[in-house]
Amino acid sequence: MDIIVCVKSVPITTGAELIPDKARKDVILDNIPFDINEWDEYALEEAIRLKERFGGNVTVISVSSRDIDEAILKCLAKGADRAIKIVDKLVAEYDAYTIAKILYTVIKSMKYDLILCGAQAGDDGYALVGVMLASLLRIPYVTFVKRLELINGSLRTVRELEEGFEEIVEVELPALLTVQTGINEPRYASIMAIRKARQKEIITLDLKSINFAESNFDGWIEIREFFTPERRKKCIMLQGDLNEITTKVVEILRQKGILR
């Protein structure tokens, strides 16, 4: 079963304060580490498990304006067989349509049974690229997949709805699935495995080499400006040492009638 996994390298922003850069079209990302987008980790793990069960190849593809070598090597270390990276300073990082179009340009001439993507990216949360890609490729797709199994050559998936509901959707291969977190438990990639992964096939492309002329291509999404959101509600931050803080909390709870 030949599988393509689309991965994105995203900044890991937990614990960090994010500040827009001078032009406000991007964010200051110095000192912020990058890693594979969380949803894509699950997609990659699912692909590798399918390979372990049914045989075949797993190819990871990633598009970025930044250096994504680490993310690519990590994917290969986890079990992907080869990687294709399209890196070019001109890639419009925040435009899902451009990204989908670039992926389409590369994937359309490839042979595959299944394409797996994460349901969304942790940095922009668009949830657009996967379905856009499927639509450009004219293959069936299912989003927010939580479980999947191969039954008689078709893919039977369970997808996630709100309020605890789920839906069973079957598609014929070749198809594209966007995967929800929790579908599996991603494995660890050791540093030595990541080093060894350099020996695997990595194809490096830029926009020129894939004939993606930025000049006669109009993207869809443009960031006018990033800004720090105002706290909607005025949150009272409790100060003091542990003793003072916990005493205050008990006071508040008593006042509100929650504690007697």
Partner: protein, 391 residues
């Protein structure tokens, strides 16, 4: 999870390079293991069953996957190595299995989370490296990057830098050094995890990465002497980092030397019964027992108690070997609770430690057991600091 039974060529090579052909199966390793009976880990049977793969002894039953996974419970106290009459080093076998599981990607999620954080942020907590020196915010501590010369480097370590309780160790140490008039610097945001737990967890590749980062800084700032308040950092900087021309001392060694030279003046009496808990990485791994005791004996008012199991025979607190990030399901109690009971039975008022791991594990045990009013757990530098009149 993903382990599928037998070992491949590379893995067998690792196992075959270990020394366990002389194992008598005496069981001393298991009897001395602080987590035996608490967890599935049994060093003796682990050695015996591994023999199935590395020798012709097919009479031994082979390992099962769950038995291999029991290696995550090890605290790397090294009791099994100390007590083995045949120099077999079961701990090395445990570490070898950890390496095999790491390379297979088969790692408990909390451990892989800590390792990933160390790689990305330089500490297991996943907090920005920019906040590594926040503990020193109002103490005006010199940073190596801002000094033309560094006489002495105080290597703080992850736990001491980021954990709110353990930060007091660093603050105490700074107050002591300033009080004595010692010129020192810290790496601050340039400091990276020392990698002791990384090594203990078997992630050899990541250990090389973090060690290289620190060594680069040592060279950049022309460091010639390093002191640290963490026994784990001490062990790894001294023994695993192959540092040429750099002297590494644990804070207890450094301060004990200063006491010898009469350079520390203890002004305040600490009239308490204090028992010293030997950290495994200071005592068992590096044979440093006298210096911390000398310090305590020199503090006016202190009655030094010797715990029943002390020095080489010390009870491991249970925090090493990555155990800070790994709880075994169904573990009845942690080793630290035994230690607390011992200290209380002896009538100790303060349990002094020389390592943030021990500090946190033992203090947690005190809270769990409800003994906050009976026993205080303090790092030895916190005790010194009180005697200098500070804090």
């Amino acid at each position: 999870m993903h382990v599928t039974g037998l070992f491949d060529k590379e893995e067998l090579k690792i196992l075959k390079s270990l020394n366990f052909n002389f194992c008598l199966q005496c069981g001393k390793c298991t009897a001395s293991c602080p987590v035996f009976l608490r967890t599935e880990l049994n060093p003796r049977t682990l050695v015996r069953k591994t023999l199935y793969f590395v020798s012709q002894l097919k009479i031994c039953p082979p390992l099962s996957i769950s038995e291999i996974s029991s290696v995550w419970a090890c605290t790397t106290c090294s009791n099994c190595v100390i007590y083995c009459p045949r120099d077999v080093k079961p701990m090395d076998i445990i570490l070898a299995f950890r390496t095999i599981l790491i390379e297979r990607g088969n790692v408990p999620s909390t451990i892989s989370g800590a390792l990933e954080n160390i790689y990305k942020f330089g500490n297991p907590f996943g907090i920005s490296s920019l906040k590594r020196a926040e503990w020193a915010r109002d103490l005006s501590v010199k940073k190596a990057s801002e000094e033309s010369e560094v006489d002495l480097l105080y290597f703080v370590g992850c736990l001491t830098s980021y954990d709110n309780r353990a930060r007091n160790i660093a603050r105490s140490m700074v107050i002591i050094l300033k009080n004595i008039g010692v010129n020192f610097s810290i790496l601050a945001e340039d400091e990276n995890c020392c990698g002791n737990e990384v090594y203990s967890l078997g992630e050899r590749g990541l250990f090389e990465v973090v060690a290289e980062k620190n060594v680069k800084r040592f060279r950049q700032y022309k460091i010639s002497k390093i002191i640290t308040t963490c026994s784990h950092c001490f062990n790894t900087l001294k023994n695993r980092y192959k540092l040429e021309n750099i002297e590494v001392q644990h804070s207890t060694q450094f301060l004990s030397d200063l006491i010898d030279k009469a350079e520390i003046n203890f002004s305040k009496r600490i009239a308490k019964k204090i028992a010293f808990h030997d950290p495994c990485y200071l005592g068992k791994h590096n044979n440093i027992f006298e210096e911390p005791r000398k310090i305590l004996e020199n503090i006016p008012g202190v009655t030094l108690l010797e715990l029943e199991r002390s020095r080489k025979n010390s009870l491991c607190c249970g925090g090493g070997g990555g155990r800070t990030w790994y709880e075994v399901t169904g573990e009845i109690s942690r080793p630290s609770e035994d230690r607390i009971k011992e200290a209380i039975d002896m009538g100790a008022e303060i349990l002094a430690v020389a390592c943030p791991f021990c500090l946190l594990e033992l203090e947690d045990a005190v809270k769990r057991m409800g003994y906050e009013n009976k026993l205080q757990v303090l790092d030895i530098v916190e005790v010194i600091c009180r005697s200098l009149g500070g804090l």
